[in-house]
Every structure is written in structure tokens, then in C-alpha cells.
Amino acid sequence: MARMTMIEAIRSAMDVSMARDDTVVVFGEDVGYFGGVFRCTQGLQQKYGKTRCFDAPISESGIVGAAIGMAAYGLRPCVEVQFADYVYPAYDQIVSEAARLRYRSNGEFTCPIVVRMPTGGGIFGGQTHSQSPEALFTHVSGLKVVVPSNPYDAKGLLIASIEDPDPVIFLEPKRLYNGPFDGHHERPVTPWSKHPLGEVPDGHFVVPLGKASVRREGSDLTILAYGTMVYVAEAAAEETGIDAEIIDLRTLLPLDLDTIVASVKKTGRCVIVHEATLTSGFGAELAALVQQYCFYNLEGPIARVTGWDTPYPHAQEWEYFPGPARLGQAMRETMEA
């Protein structure tokens, strides 16, 4: 076991995977010599050589398109898109190609790629370094969508994603890279070294895709969260005194519906929280499923706390970011309903 930040855990996942399987290759913008703008690939080129970890041209469509070709050949590319905000040029390659290749070729060609990208706000990144585009991918059949919330899960989920036979969109909440963040931006940052989930095995292990984790057991209501919002939920539970059961979804697609349904049936109330915009967000899918499977157990309406339906602002970051105050308010209203 070692103390790792989320960056180190992600790096370790690629390191372990590259050591175990020489078909794993890693590339992206600034990923090779320099080791990535967030340093997630630091040292991999030195260790595995520049044909297994290398810099790519600034062409997200090219990066993902080349990765698809490599996967069709038999490699397992794990590519980085520098920010999730820059993935859109690659959207056609992901949606029309990677996601459908197995289906359209009846399994002759498959696409075991991972597209890693930092997601979410909280770093004063403005509209081009803060977006949470997960719903654009959960809407696509053939993809898997993963959002880890801590170093342990990040490593185990990334190894599982690299080993997965199908394309995985791996969204890394960048505000969590160096420590958990509960939305209290005025307080000093807690490093991962002081958090139990910063304890990560050095070697190979997997956290299976499609399994949520109950981060806090509770009986009053269920909070469905992922990524940074897991810590916002923890803070809100503590500050409101409401005995919330907090579920960290970890994988959005495939979704661990059983864990969600079991929890909401127990608590009878549900609040969904995500950073992404509200309309057609992943919370809408969650709310629909919860009402479908838990309707007769619900004691009040399902609430959603999300980013506003505006572009992600710069100066108004903390008015935009769904912090513990907004979530706490929604929890109180849900309890009163």
C-alpha cells in the first residue's frame, strides 16, 4: 500500500497496465515527454519507450480515431483528451465509430479503448476547463462511462477500464486530483495523504465497472452522487444533520440500479446531485429510474441539485457550483415534503 494522490493513482493504473500487457499504449496532447498537463502520465515514456507513450498532435478527433484503428489492430490504447471541454471534435469518432464498431461488425472488430479526460469545475477554469459532459456519453449505446471520486477507485476503475473489451469514457474530476473537495472553497485543501481513500495498493487490482459504492449509510434520504459531488454530499449531510445515505455511482453506464433501488426503497426519499447542467442531465435519467422502480416507496418528490443551465462562468464559479448549502437546502425540502 502507498499514499497516492488521484494523479498518482491514475498514473499507477497505467503503469501497472503497461507493465502487464504490452499492447497497452498511452498517448495524447503533452502526454509523452512532459507527462501531461496534470502529470498523469509522467515517467511513462521514460519507462516504456516512446512508441508506447507519446505526444500527439492537437487533434482530438485524430487521437481517438487513431486509437480506434489501433484497437481494431489489437492494441489497447488509453488516450488522454486534455480537458473534457475539448472532446467535442472527437465526438463523431466516439459516438459513430468506437461505440458501434462491435455491433456493426458483429464482433469482428472491437474497440477496447479508454478515453481519459479531466472533468468538472472548481478550479476557476471558466467555460473551457470546467464542463461535465458525461450525459453526452451516457446517451450513447455501446459506451461505458466512469467517474471516480478518489485515488483508490480511480486506480481500480482505470485498470478495469483498460482491461474492458469495450470503449470506456473515463472522466476524472480534476478538482479531486490533489485532495477531496466538499465545495467549501474558502477552507484549506485537505490532501489525499490525510484521507483513507488515498491509501492505494501499489500493484494490480480492479474496482469492477458497473458497481456503485455506498459511501455513507443513512436512513433519512438517499443522495445519488458521483465525482466531486460525493464530498459535497458528505458535507451537506454533516451540516444539515440529516441522516443521508450517500451513493457514489462510480460507473454511470452500466448503472448499478440495484444499489440505488435498494437504498431509495429503504429511505423513501431521493436527492440527485451533479455538476453538469440540469436539462437532460444524467440526473434526469436517475430520477426517471427511481420513480419507475421506487414509486410506491417514495414519500416525496425526487430533487435534483445541479449546475445551472448556463455556460460554466468564471467569476461566478461558486454561485454556479452546486455546493453543500444548495444541496443542504434541497435535502431539507425533501425531508419536509
Binding site: 499492447t23 499504449v25 512508441t51 508506447r52 500527439a56 498532435p57 487533434s59 478527433s61 485524430g62 480515431g65 487513431a66 486509437a67 480506434i68 484503428g69 489501433m70 481494431a72 489492430y73 489489437g74 492494441l75 471534435p89 463523431d92 469518432q93 459513430s96 465509430e97 464498431l101 462491435r102 455491433y103 456493426r104 461488425s105 458483429n106 464482433g107 469482428e108 472488430f109 472491437t110 449505446s141 455501446g142 461505458k144 473489451p165 469495450d166 458497473g210 453506464l253 452500466p254 448503472l255 440500479l257 440495484d258
Partner: protein
């Protein structure tokens, strides 16, 4: 609305007064001739067969920039193979080439008819472009991988892929290798070096480069070939493919089939002011060649040159095949609405089947009688394959892929939400 127009006009007058050059105007290219006009290809310079030199494959790309502006041709108007690009094929290989092209043409004719008879929803033919994919296929080795578009079925025909399996796919019947999931003609065959056709344009071009990079990463000997049409070179993935191919000197042959028409849009809309599509490669330092796409011998010779470059780890080659789409874009298209009906017969590079036939007769390896006999044999073979395919069903009659198959193969393992949906569908 009237206000807006008068405001725009006033601005225009003011701008005109303010600059010495007058107002700007937008240039929108137009083809030389539209329906009702007389086809005119006098602006298409056709170099003499045999006139373009054949450089060594390890030539410095800077030395052969002019090849991007010429047209490599082997067969002359007399049906003779001439010049430095001639002589790559034996009589037997040429006869097989002729047979492949004739088979593709007959296959197309039968499938077009089948579509009109309602046996399938859609079809795309190759008329006029048969030489490109049929000859290119013969320059590849087993294990090489094509990333084709929807107009390279010659890669399958010339590679010996069973016609009946192609038809099973076209009819989406119970033997469809793709289980009814794909639009007709979007074949896939890993074994035959034929990557699953997307139907989206140019996405496969960068994938071909990625596949080739993977082969190089693994110190393999196999190479890839990417395919795109003239119109689809305008997609940003074309640029991505050329950047990656150039940067990593990937072992890939990048093919552009310039058949003059992107549905109703003439090639000038995608080409813009550049002299040729091949010339797009020059800025990337990629050797770029233009070839007579209706000349089986020229296509094969140039493909062989490019394949050897890739195989020797010398990097990518860009090839523009100058050809003409004689038929409609697809069964959903009517070209008489946008180009003169006579345009295809005015096309100066002729018919690839007829040209190879005449050459073989000139060589003494073929005759009119044998050609007629071959036509009859090929038709019989295509009809026999069609009968067999139809015995397994057509789109609206007979055997079909199961509805259960609709839910299979989205993922390696079916996730719970799809399992629930399959149950809901009652299959």
C-alpha cells in the same frame, strides 16, 4: 425584413465609398456544365500514357512534387501498355483483373435490379470505378487492412470474398454476416482485410493511420490502406489522418477516389483553389501521386509502388485516382437533376473494363468471343449466388435475422439495462 435589406444595401454603398476596392463578393464555384448543357472536359488535362516517370520508392518526396499534378497512365488509346509504370502484371493476372471488374459490374447490375424489385432498401454501384478497388486489392498482401468507403466492394470481389455473403448482407437475411444491423453494402470482413464500413465519411481515414501505427508499434510487417472520396476530403478527419500519417510516418496508403461527384456536388466544392486533391499531401511532405483510375494497369502499378513504400517503412503515400462516377450516388439519387446525362460518355478516361479488354486482345491473350463467353459465365455465377442468397431471405420476405440479435453485441457482455429492455421487447 425590408428594413434589414435596406440597411444592408446602405452599408454596402458606404463600404464602397470608403475603400478604393469596392465591396467584397463571395465566390461559389460551379461546374462547367449543368443539365441541358454540352459536357466539356477540355479543361481536364490528360497527359499521354507512359509520359510520367516512375521514381524509386525511396525517392525524396520533395523530388516528385509534380506527380501530384500529373496523371500516371499506362494504357494508351491503342490499348497498349506503355512507359515506366507498365509491366507489373502477367497475362494471367490481367485476365483475373478483367474477370474481377466484370464480376463487380454484373454484381452491381443484379443488385440494383434487386433493389428496384424491393428485395433490399438501398444499393450503391461502382460503374466506371471498378478498376480502382479491384486493381488495388492485388497490390496488397494477406493480413493488410483496408479501411474502405461504400464504393470499394472490388476489394472483396478481387480478394475472393464469397458473393453470396455480400448478397446475404445486402438482403439483411438470416445468413447476413452482420445480423441485419447494417445498411446494405456496409460490409465487414476481418479475414479479407476489409474493415467494417461506417457510412460516416472520412472517420475511417484516421483509423487506417492508427491501425498502421499499431502495426509499426508492434514491429509487424502488415500495412493499412485508407479510402476516401473527393467530397469527403473536406472533412476534418482527412486533415487529422494526414497529420498523423506524416508525423509518425505510418505504413499506410491513403487513397482518394476522385469520381468527380459527391452526390450532387461537383469536386470543385471540396477542392477549392488547390490544383488537385493529391496536392493536399504536399504540405505534409507525403509523396502524392495522381493516377488514371480507369486504367487497371496504372492503378495496380501505383498501388504497388505505394504499398512497397509502406512495407519498407518509408511511410505514407497519398494517391488520387482520377475517375468518374457513371451511375447515381446511390439508389436514392438521380444524377440527371444536376449533371448532363451524356457527361459520363464524354469522360476522357473511358471505361476501365473496355480498356483492359482491348489491351488483352491487343496482347493476344483475349478475344471478343472469349469476352462474350466470360460475360455469360459471370452472369451465371452471379445469378447462382443470388439464388442461394435469396433462398435465405430478402429484406421483406423469407428468413430474417432474429430480433433478439438486435440486442446482442452492443457490448461484449450484455449490461442489465439492455437485458431489461430485451425482456420488455419480449424477445
Amino acid at each position: 425584413m425590408a428594413n434589414k435589406v435596406s440597411l444592408a444595401n446602405r452599408n454596402r454603398e458606404e463600404i464602397g465609398r470608403m475603400t478604393e476596392h469596392g465591396p467584397l463578393s463571395l465566390h461559389v464555384p460551379e461546374p462547367e456544365v449543368r443539365p441541358g448543357g454540352t459536357p466539356d472536359f477540355s479543361n481536364v488535362p490528360i497527359p499521354k500514357a507512359g509520359s510520367v516517370p516512375r521514381p524509386e520508392v525511396d525517392v525524396d518526396p520533395k523530388e516528385i512534387r509534380d506527380l501530384a499534378y500529373s496523371i500516371i497512365r499506362v494504357l494508351n488509346r491503342e490499348g497498349e501498355a506503355v512507359g515506366p509504370w507498365a509491366g507489373t502484371l502477367t497475362d494471367e493476372e490481367l485476365l483475373q483483373g478483367l474477370r474481377d471488374m466484370m464480376t463487380l459490374r454484373t454484381f452491381d447490375a443484379r443488385m440494383l435490379m434487386a433493389q428496384r424489385q424491393g428485395k433490399t432498401s438501398f444499393y450503391m454501384q461502382h460503374m466506371g470505378e471498378e478498376a480502382v478497388s479491384c486493381a488495388f486489392r492485388k497490390a496488397l498482401a494477406p493480413g493488410d487492412m483496408n479501411f474502405p468507403t461504400y464504393r470499394q466492394a472490388g476489394l472483396l470481389i478481387a480478394g475472393g470474398y464469397p458473393m453470396v455473403d455480400m448478397m446475404n448482407q445486402i438482403f439483411s437475411n438470416e445468413r447476413d454476416p452482420l445480423k441485419g444491423r447494417q445498411l446494405p453494402v456496409m460490409y465487414s470482413s476481418k479475414e479479407h482485410g476489409f474493415f467494417s464500413i461506417s457510412g460516416n465519411l472520412t472517420t475511417q481515414y484516421i483509423q487506417a493511420v492508427g491501425w498502421a501505427m499499431a502495426s509499426a508499434i508492434r514491429n509487424d510487417t502488415r500495412i493499412a490502406a485508407g479510402w476516401v472520396g473527393d467530397g469527403a476530403t473536406a472533412e476534418s478527419d482527412f486533415h487529422a489522418a494526414l497529420v498523423f500519417a506524416s508525423t509518425y510516418t505510418a505504413p499506410v496508403v491513403l487513397n482518394i477516389v476522385n469520381n468527380q461527384w459527391a452526390i450532387s456536388t461537383f469536386q470543385g466544392i471540396a477542392r477549392g483553389g488547390s490544383g488537385t486533391f493529391a496536392a493536399r499531401g504536399l504540405g505534409f511532405g507525403i509523396p502524392a501521386l495522381r493516377v488514371d483510375g480507369n486504367d487497371y494497369l496504372a492503378v495496380h502499378a501505383v498501388a504497388k509502388w505505394a504499398v512497397e513504400r509502406a512495407r519498407r517503412n518509408l511511410g505514407p503515400t497519398l494517391i488520387e485516382y482520377v475517375t468518374y462516377r457513371v451511375g447515381a450516388h446511390s439508389t436514392s439519387d438521380d444524377p440527371s437533376a444536376y449533371r448532363p446525362k451524356e457527361e459520363s460518355s464524354a469522360w476522357p478516361l473511358g471505361d476501365p473494363v473496355l480498356r483492359l479488354k482491348n489491351h488483352l486482345i491487343k496482347r493476344g491473350a483475349w478475344s471478343e468471343e472469349r469476352h462474350k463467353q466470360a460475360e455469360a459465365e459471370i452472369l451465371d455465377a452471379v445469378i447462382a449466388a443470388q439464388k442461394e442468397a435469396e433462398s435465405h431471405g430478402t429484406l421483406h420476405a423469407g428468413g430474417k435475422p432474429s430480433v433478439r440479435d438486435m440486442f446482442e453485441g452492443v457490448y461484449a457482455e450484455m449490461p442489465p439495462h439492455l437485458r431489461r429492455q430485451r425482456q420488455e421487447a419480449g424477445v
